[in-house]
């Protein structure tokens, strides 16, 4: 043990490697191990590192029932080069990809490890998420509507509360599906998409149309997080973490605001405080947020402080959130264009990092210097977010 005094404060955390699989409905050509390996290899390649350079692995996925492999992290240790190293699994429902990245980031920030591989995945084709989310519990009335039926009434409440016109949801879906055409990793590539087609799609859970719901995807996303020394060796520009936070609240309680949950507001406020952001609308250049149903874009715009209460839909309607708008949202195509559930949160975090690294390719926002990655899960009860920037943090 060295007797040298440890530096005070947190170690700055840099993203130096990012890897994704091409998200698709079913990857029948690979095992779960093969799927996560593919994303991890691409992240290592991006960082120009090898398995030996990794000190620890932090992995996340949504409920085990989604593939029926109990504790899949145990059998994935070989595929992720984790043998002989610490390996942790994180689980916070749909927000898990975000919270997994934050657990990994905290290991670097706390100087527990120098370089950490973090990864999240879902192979939805191996099971049925709708089944996994609605197990029949004795004595209880069966759930009548599934996941869309859970969220659709809250969307109606948002529409009533704000007076937003019925068309806003379709604008989000039309934008995200067009953005996806510029992202080679997106699941849905609807080349013939038109606003009319989005609006002509059948209502599944009115007010939620088929065209305004996320697909079911197989996919994985990986990132290499490292300290200041690691960032200095990185071959490509890193993304620096300026703030990160998680919050949770019960699924249901008297006084819960499903339209704009308190835990989401608190989580965003914590991130902005860490990052020194006082006016998110002006100071943040791009946002990747977790929007599984189109209407959640205006809802989260308010919850995250980009618009005053009741005003979020106006940003969407006026084109502010378009790829060439003033505050682009879901440049990658978002969850509406690819939803490997456990990975979806990490994809938001990784896409935010790609933007500030200038590595987002065709869906790059020119000059993006600060980007927010956001994830939520469960019955709007788990939130995880990070803010990444081009420059290292100053505090």
């Amino acid at each position: 043990m060295s007797n040298a005094p440890r530096p005070s404060g947190k170690e700055p955390v840099a993203v130096v490697g990012i890897g994704q699989t091409k998200h698709v409905a079913a990857r029948r050509d690979v095992s779960i191990a093969g799927l996560v390996r593919e994303a991890a290899r691409r992240a290592l390649l991006d960082a120009e590192l090898t398995w030996a350079d990794i000190d620890a692995v932090v992995i996340g996925k949504a409920p085990d029932f989604f593939e029926g492999v109990m504790m899949p992290e145990l059998y994935l240790a070989d595929a992720l080069g984790a043998v002989g190293k610490p390996m942790l699994r994180v689980h916070t429902a749909g927000s898990v990809g975000g919270s997994t990245a934050l657990v990994a980031a905290n290991l670097v920030a706390g100087r527990v490890h120098g370089t950490v591989l973090t990864l999240a995945f879902e192979k939805q084709s191996e099971s049925n998420a709708m089944w996994g989310l609605s197990l029949p519990v004795p004595f209880q009335q069966p759930l009548l509507a599934g996941a869309g039926g859970f969220f659709a009434p809250h969307i109606r409440a948002y529409m009533r509360r704000t007076g937003a016109p019925d068309t806003v949801g379709s604008l989000v879906a039309y934008k995200d599906r067009r953005n996806a055409l510029k992202n080679p990793f997106a699941h849905l590539h609807e080349h013939d998409i038109t606003l009319e087609k989005v609006q002509a799609a059948p209502m599944l859970w009115d007010p939620v149309r088929y065209s305004e719901t996320c697909p079911s995807s197989d996919g994985a996303c990986a990132m290499i997080l490292t300290d200041r020394a690691g960032a200095a060796r990185a071959p490509r520009p890193p993304a620096w973490m300026h703030g990160g936070a998680m919050r949770s609240e019960p699924t249901m309680f008297a006084g819960k605001d499903f339209v704009s949950p308190q835990a989401g507001k608190d989580c965003a406020a914590d991130v902005y405080r860490q990052a020194g952001i006082t006016d998110p609308r002006r100071e943040i250049d791009a946002v990747e947020m977790y929007v599984p149903f189109s209407w959640y874009e205006p809802m989260w715009l308010e919850n995250l402080g980009f618009a005053a209460e009741g005003e979020g839909w106006k940003l969407t309607e006026s084109g502010v959130t378009e790829l060439d708008g003033d505050l682009p949202v879901n440049m990658s195509g978002g969850v509406l264009s690819a939803n490997p559930i456990g990975a979806s949160g990490m994809i938001r975090f990784a896409e935010a990092a790609l933007q500030v690294r200038g590595q987002a390719g065709e869906h790059q926002v020119a000059g993006a210097r600060r980007a927010l990655g956001h994830a939520y899960g469960g019955g709007s009860q788990f939130f995880s977010m990070w803010l990444v920037g081009t420059e290292p943090p100053t505090t």
């Binding site: 191990a33 029926g68 070989d78 191996e126 009548l144 009533r160 008297a254």
Partner: protein, 318 residues
């Protein structure tokens, strides 16, 4: 004190598995009565084969054929086989190092009793009569005392088996048997429902009334005990119109799935709205439960005919 309810809960699903190249070769091999392993860079042979080297994390694709005979490295007697296990009669779980392999495979050994099993005993594969490309193609192992362990030569294998279609996926049915109990508070709630009364519990700290009750307040973290009857009438706070038929539910679509704040309750419960065309349901609609004989819960809620509730009276319950 009412009786606390309890009932069996079975969770089962036929999960599918995409095998990837190595497991695909292994299971296709079993179908052809061939056991394949994989060779690592330092010459170790792993059976069953894995895709990635546990030591170095390198990708492994160098398939080899090993023998169908081997040596028990350790074992445990299973006196009472359960459903889905390899044999119906008592057997030994064994780890078998097949001749030519450096690691051991877990399987069942058909033996008359624990006295007939020992570490170091020689065994051989008993192939299933009908093989499909699954680990159960090895029906079990059986004693093979006459077969001395000799230096077995492994041979390289392409992983391909002539014209036969490779096995690329399997179905892995999973089943969990639970005994479920909803606990004291929910049991009382359910008993009250059988008398067509809805009874919640009030939090002694925040005074909110929870329906259904859980025995504790999720925000204050204190136990709740004071019973409060709510309803039967209530207000539709929000809803959606469901157009897709749920598996196992005998309800015609479209139907309305509503959040209903029963009078006196501080959060909404969920239920179906009927007795009104689906496109006429609205937020603020006043409803009451409709019971059917023998139903544990209201079948649905129907309009009471009262004027709609003012938005301000339920907006905090959304």
């Amino acid at each position: 004190m009412t009786e606390v309810l309890s009932a069996p809960l079975v969770v089962e699903f036929p999960f599918t598995r995409s095998l990837g190249p190595v497991q695909s070769a292994f299971l296709t091999g079993l179908r052809e009565r061939t056991v394949l392993g994989v060779r690592t860079a330092d010459g170790k042979v792993l059976v069953p084969p894995v895709e990635y080297d546990p030591g170095t994390a390198e990708e492994l694709r160098d398939l080899v054929k090993v023998a169908a005979t081997g040596t028990v490295t350790t074992w445990a007697w299973n006196p009472g086989p359960r459903r889905g296990q390899p044999l119906d009669t008592a057997f030994a779980w064994v780890l078998v190092r097949l001749d030519g392999a450096d690691t051991a495979l877990l399987h069942a050994l058909d033996a008359p009793g624990p006295d007939a099993v020992r570490t170091g005993m020689r065994v051989r594969v008993r192939w299933a009569a009908e093989r499909t490309g699954a680990i159960t193609d090895i029906a079990c192992f059986e004693p093979y005392e006459e077969g001395e362990a000799t230096g077995h030569q492994i041979t390289a294998h392409s992983g391909e088996f002539g014209g036969e279609t490779a096995v690329t996926g399997i179905v892995a049915p999973a089943r969990l048997d639970y005994t479920y109990s909803p606990g004291r508070a929910q049991s009382q709630y359910i008993h009250a429902l059988s008398g067509r009364r809805t009874v919640g519990e009030r939090c002694p700290s925040c005074r909110k009334v929870y329906v259904p009750p859980r025995g504790a307040c999720p925000t204050c973290g204190v136990a709740t005990a004071e019973q409060v009857e709510v309803g039967p009438r209530g207000t539709v706070t929000t809803f959606c119109i469901v157009n897709i038929k749920a598996k196992g539910l005998d309800i015609e679509v479209p139907y309305v799935y509503g959040h209903i704040a029963l009078d006196g309750a501080d959060l909404a419960l969920h239920g179906r709205i009927g007795g009104i065309p689906y496109d006429q349901v609205r937020m603020g609609l006043r409803v009451e439960p409709v019971w059917t004989d023998g139903g544990r819960y209201p079948d649905h809620y129907r309009p009471t005919g009262e004027p709609d509730a003012d938005y301000d009276t339920y907006k905090e319950l959304l």
